[in-house]
């Protein structure tokens, strides 16, 4: 197969045989294939820059996010306010940096929830034959046919108030949004994992390990799961992008985070009524969401090429 001809000369063949449990493609080879996707490499740089900016930016740009200054409201970019100001004269750079933390954190956390739930359900379905498998797959198909946004809105409408009282408005909304977005995005991962498990559990090395007396759970953790990581990582990357869009959509509809937490979607929601007099406001926030999502999608595409040699024909 194509996979065997691609093996790089830097990896000794003896090592491959002795390390059956290690990830299928050696790291260097994967990295080289990833680097061949130039847009993915550029996207990694852009995303890294964005992550660094939201992580350390607020330390360098110490303008308070809620400093109201009506003398400077709806101003375009200037030296005092590099990204301009909003209708209350609040500095947009500071708000964007602060909000970016939440937008990106929600995306990562929600994708993590989706991967964990999806992997668990897919693994259980893939390892157990018969009725459990059938029931779990029926559930997966049912969730796939649910329209996510209306349900997201419904769940948030129903549970928002009580969770806010329980753990505070900021953290409560965060948990709710992460759980709900993750809870409606695990299906793709579950299907992928199940398909991987179904084929992997019949492979010789798994059979050999089973013959050596390895327990089922250890078999999954040591042999089957590491070998199905590739597609999971790719699907998870795409999920991060989708989760960022989902969070921004909720905030844009005014049903996400409370107004005093300026996530990118929330900034866009506030900016849309001033589109004619202060377009910079909407453009910066929307552009940030777009750039983050685009680069994550490209990274996902590059990872697909790198981790799954079959599809990169």
């Amino acid at each position: 197969m194509a996979g065997s001809t691609l093996a790089s000369p830097t990896v000794s063949t003896g090592q491959q045989h002795s390390l059956a449990a290690a990830p299928a493609s050696p790291g260097i080879e994967t990295w080289r294939r990833f680097c061949r996707h130039r847009l993915a490499v550029a996207s990694t740089a852009i995303l890294a820059a964005m992550l660094l900016a939201v992580a350390f930016g607020p330390l360098l740009w110490q303008v308070p996010i809620n400093d109201i200054d009506f003398g400077a409201h709806l101003e375009g970019p200037s030296w005092a306010h590099p990204l301009g100001t909003d209708d209350l004269g609040q500095d947009l750079l500071a708000r964007m940096l602060y909000g970016g933390r939440i937008s990106l954190a929600v995306g990562l956390a929600a994708a993590l929830v989706a991967i964990i739930v999806g992997t668990a359900i897919g693994a259980i379905a893939g390892m157990s034959r018969g009725s459990i498998d059938a029931a779990l797959m029926w559930l997966t198909d049912l969730f796939l046919s649910l329209p996510p946004l209306p349900l997201l809105l419904l769940v948030i409408y129903l549970f928002r108030e009580s969770l806010k009282q329980l753990v505070g408005p900021e953290f409560g909304t965060f948990i709710l949004i992460v759980a709900v977005i993750g809870g409606f995005r695990w299906m793709q991962v579950a299907r992928l994992v199940r398909a991987q498990f179904l084929s992997l559990r019949e492979k010789e090395f798994v059979e050999a390990a089973r013959a050596l007396g390895m327990s089922s759970s250890r078999l999954v953790v040591r042999h089957i799961l590491p070998n199905s990581l590739g597609p999971i990582i790719v699907a998870g990357t795409i999920d991060v992008a989708a989760a960022i869009i989902a969070e921004s959509t909720l905030s844009f509809l005014g049903l996400g985070f409370p107004p005093d937490i300026p996530t990118w979607g929330r900034i866009l929601f506030d900016a849309k009524d001033y589109l004619d007099i202060a377009p910079h406001w909407a453009l910066f926030a929307g552009g940030a969401i777009f750039l983050a999502v685009l680069s994550i999608n490209f990274i996902g595409d590059g990872l697909r090429d790198a981790l799954d040699p079959r599809t990169s024909a």
């Binding site: 049912l142 209306p150 419904l154 409408y157 959509t249 909407a282 999502v293 999608n297």
Partner: protein
Amino acid sequence: MGRYLIRRLLIAVPSLLGISVVLFTVLALAPGDPFGELASNVNVPPEVAAGLRAKFGLDDPIALRYLRWLLAMLHGDWGFSFVSRMDVDTLIRQRLPATLLVIGSSQLVALLIALPVGVYSALRPYSLFDQIANLLAFIGFSLPTFFTGLLFILLFSIYLDWLPFVFQADISATGWQWYWEEFKQAVMPVSVLALLQAASWTRYVRSAVLEVIRLDYVTTARAKGLPERTVVVKHIVRNALIPVVTLVALQMPALFGGAIVTEQIFRIPGIGSLLISSILANDTPVIMAVTFVFAGLVILFNLVADILYGWLDPRIAYR
């Protein structure tokens, strides 16, 4: 074909039931109580409140409440909107056509873009056209609908002043003028949704065509000396469309998300904007009904996809 259709219809019933169970469970699990205000109101004696609860069956087991709710829904009794002061089903019937019109025409536009572009890219893989199409497709599905909508408004309504950005349900003009006005106000919402769809469909079509193009029967068709046009349209595209239909049907739920956002941005009086306004107004019966209608629409479109599937691939219908 008839039996195939009936079988698909029967499969749709459990899905609808499953969705109704999910919706009802979410509602039942939610904190809050329709009679919560009565309990805290000192003017209402506890026994009256308890009587009301018993009358509306609020203390019954959840399975019984679900059955009662389901029967009412089947009878067409969808509840009463507290905010709009009218029956929920009338309200939805008023709002549904606008949503279906926008979604339907955006699907059509997306198909008209994605099919030629995807096929052409796959016929010349890694050409300049293919690379540009691929880049645009990535940009297309990375642009969130709300941002595309705002960009369109900024460009076409504010800078160029070509198109209106607020949708009007009652246009005073008549005749051709009316159609023109309708067309002008539908252009932006439809193209926002169409671009999102076309972007991902182009990639599906491209990869499906690439799969089909190297099969033996395509070589045979070429060897017979068939004109390239016939080979592409009759041999390649028709077979490539089979997996595309499945993927398009899987995308359907996400499309409704986009439709909600688009309706909200352009203020189209459809069921998506109805959902948002009733959430903001705490109008529970409407919220439940609209969510259910969206789920029902997804199942309906899946059914349509199945029928298309049977038409594209006759082998399925006979199985």
